[in-house]
């Protein structure tokens, strides 16, 4: 049980590579905290700093208020599961589980008892006398977890524990880790580059990029209100579509239409998630199963035309996944500056366009999530809509979230 506090953590390797920059995080007692980020963003380095395998070049790690700087990893009573599992190949499963206890000088009898207990929790009883080389990937993973829980550590540190497993086993072990965490209630730091793992497992999470924390919060907060363009683009699959919004008074003009945008008088970058795009007219159903977004007023009715962007698009590609369909569409150009009913004019009507679209000559592409029962076919032109309150606005220069951030 422990609260882990990181203050101003920085790490510069001897060859000048900066792996971690000024990280401030508080990992609360008993929570499962996920560090999420792309490869090379410094997740493992941060974990190694927490456990003491690396010394930070600046900042302090403290556990329950006690500074851990300079404390040997073995003295921190944390347990770590490595991506490679790091099971000792010359020892049986039983010896592997007992190793931390043996080092700690736990008497043989209690050692046996605790190994048996851990083996029971992880269903390893039948494997206790096997050699690691004879185990499957999932079994090795469980042995590594077993070695971690056997000593009642103050925290578990897991470095991409599932990335070496095949997809099915990964889902299974993910559930197992969630179950284990609920059962033991031990503070856990979980490193991954897989957003599904992060969103499903995390009590709270932090998104890292280039060694810097981009955002920390609950998965709902981070997904629902990404603090910047990086987080917005990193979370979500298929990812958010970004487009340029040209400033026109209080509004911005998008390839999709016109919307009220926060933040100064300059252009903005606008992000749209696939699940926020729907076929026009399916409003009530779509908004019912959408994620609730904190901090956004529910005052505007979804059918309020001023809060709805309706546009026409040509379907280029359909991805049918059984439970849902993703449509990759190309937005048809429209006279977005015209207000009211006229804005959805088709190109086929033959009238010359008054001005080129705000996106210039390149057509805007977009991904929309449709219901799997949708009759839409590739090549069709469909009417789509997005609620304006579901748009994410970012500063095009700094990438920071604008408005309700």
């Amino acid at each position: 049980m422990a609260t882990i506090t990181l203050k101003g953590i920085g790490k510069r390797f001897s060859r000048g590579a900066v792996a971690v920059r000024n990280v401030d995080l508080e990992i609360h007692d008993g929570e499962l905290f996920v560090l999420l980020g792309p490869s090379g963003c410094g997740k493992s380095t941060l974990l190694n700093i927490i456990v003491g395998l690396e010394e930070p070049t600046s900042g302090t790690v403290s556990v329950d208020g006690r500074s851990m700087n300079g404390v040997e990893p073995g003295k921190r009573n944390m347990a770590m599961v490595f991506q490679s599992y790091a099971i000792y190949p010359h020892m049986s499963v039983r010896e592997n589980l007992a190793f931390p206890l043996r080092i700690a000088g736990v008497p043989a009898e209690e050692r046996e008892r605790r190994v048996a207990e851990a083996a029971e929790i992880l269903e390893l009883e039948e494997l206790l006398d096997r050699r690691p080389a004879t185990l499957s990937g999932g079994q090795r993973q469980r042995v590594a977890m077993g070695r971690a829980i056997v000593r009642n550590p103050v925290a578990f540190l897991l470095d991409e524990p599932l990335s070496n497993l095949d997809a099915r086993l990964r889902g299974q072990m993910r559930a197992e880790i969630a179950r284990l965490h609920r059962r033991l209630g031990t503070t856990t730091v979980y490193v991954t580059h897989d957003q599904t793992e992060a969103l499903t497992l995390a009590d709270r999470m932090a998104v890292l990029n280039r060694g810097e924390v981009q955002q920390a919060g609950t998965p709902r907060e981070v997904y629902g209100r990404p603090a910047n363009r990086f987080v917005a683009g990193f979370l979500g699959s298929p990812p958010m579509t970004f487009m340029r919004g040209e400033r026109d008074g209080d509004d911005v003009v998008l390839p999709l239409g016109r919307a009220t945008a926060p933040g100064g008088g300059s252009d903005v970058e606008v992000g749209v998630r696939p699940e926020d795009v729907r076929e026009a007219g399916s409003a009530t159903r779509a908004s019912a199963d959408a994620l609730p977004r904190p901090g956004v007023g529910q005052a505007e009715a979804p059918s309020d035309p001023s809060a709805l962007l309706r546009f026409r698009a040509r379907v280029e590609l359909l991805e049918w996944l059984g439970a849902e369909t993703y449509a990759h569409v190309e937005v048809e150009e429209q006279d977005a500056r015209a207000e009211g009913a006229g804005w959805g004019r088709k190109r086929e009507d033959g009238r010359p366009r008054p001005e080129p679209g705000p996106s210039g000559e390149r057509p805007q592409r977009l991904v929309a999530r449709l219901s799997p029962g949708s009759p839409v076919k590739e090549g069709d032109v469909v009417d789509l809509e997005v609620e304006a309150r579901r748009l994410h606005f970012f500063d095009p220069d700094t990438g920071a979230r604008l408005g309700d951030a």
Binding site: S14, F82, A86, F99, I103
Partner: protein, 278 residues
Amino acid sequence: MSDRGTALERLFWRATVLVVLVYAGLPLAWIVSLSLKPAADLGDGHLVPRHVTLAHYGAVFANPHFPAALRNSLGIATLATLLAVALGVLAAYAVVRLRFPGRRLFLGGALAVAMFPPVAVIGPLFDLWRRVGLYDTWAGLVLPYLSLTLPLAIWILAAAFRDLPWDLERAARVDGATRLQALRKIILPLAAPGVAAAAVLVFIFAWNDFMFALSLTSTDHARTVPAVLAFFTGASRFQQPTSAIAAASVVVTIPVVVLVLLFQRPIVAGLTAGAVKG
């Protein structure tokens, strides 16, 4: 086509192995043969002795210097091996695991020492040892053996360590082990082939050395077997001690052969460590 190619290849390799075996084995066989022939048959030119006698072996063990020499050889070679492996393990660990300025220079320097011609130091060493009192002592031989074999030991051990997944050591340290404990309980058992290879090579070097043993010792106090062999005499002053030397050589070779057979697999594994990814 390809079948004939592989058949031809196989033939080639078999022939090569045969040539090497004969080349390496014939002298050995000849020595064994000599050691078993009675003195009168020595010059008969037969590989298989017509009469077999164990008299020469009796003579070897009857030689008043031989048991002492055997004891010295065993003791000195073992000491040199233990020290070289212990120091080599620590040095290799540092070279592979720790970052310190001059790491490359250290490895390069070690290699340079390994290439140094030992003959060049014997003269000065003789003078020095006499002055500091190391002449004709075990330490007087252990020290040069250690110095000359340590670089090779470090290289072999470093190669073995480099192949180990270091996550294992990190895991051990998180599990509560100190660096030294992790080295002892995780790294060394896993690097056992490399350690065995290094140990055997050091032992053989020390066991077989003739030059240092001859120059830096004078009595049973520290004289080793190869040096004692040189002073063997025949049954009479007018007889060549050929058979006696042959018998003694066989006796001396046996421990080495046993050692190599015992550690053959680990040695090969250790010598090729790093060459291929296991």
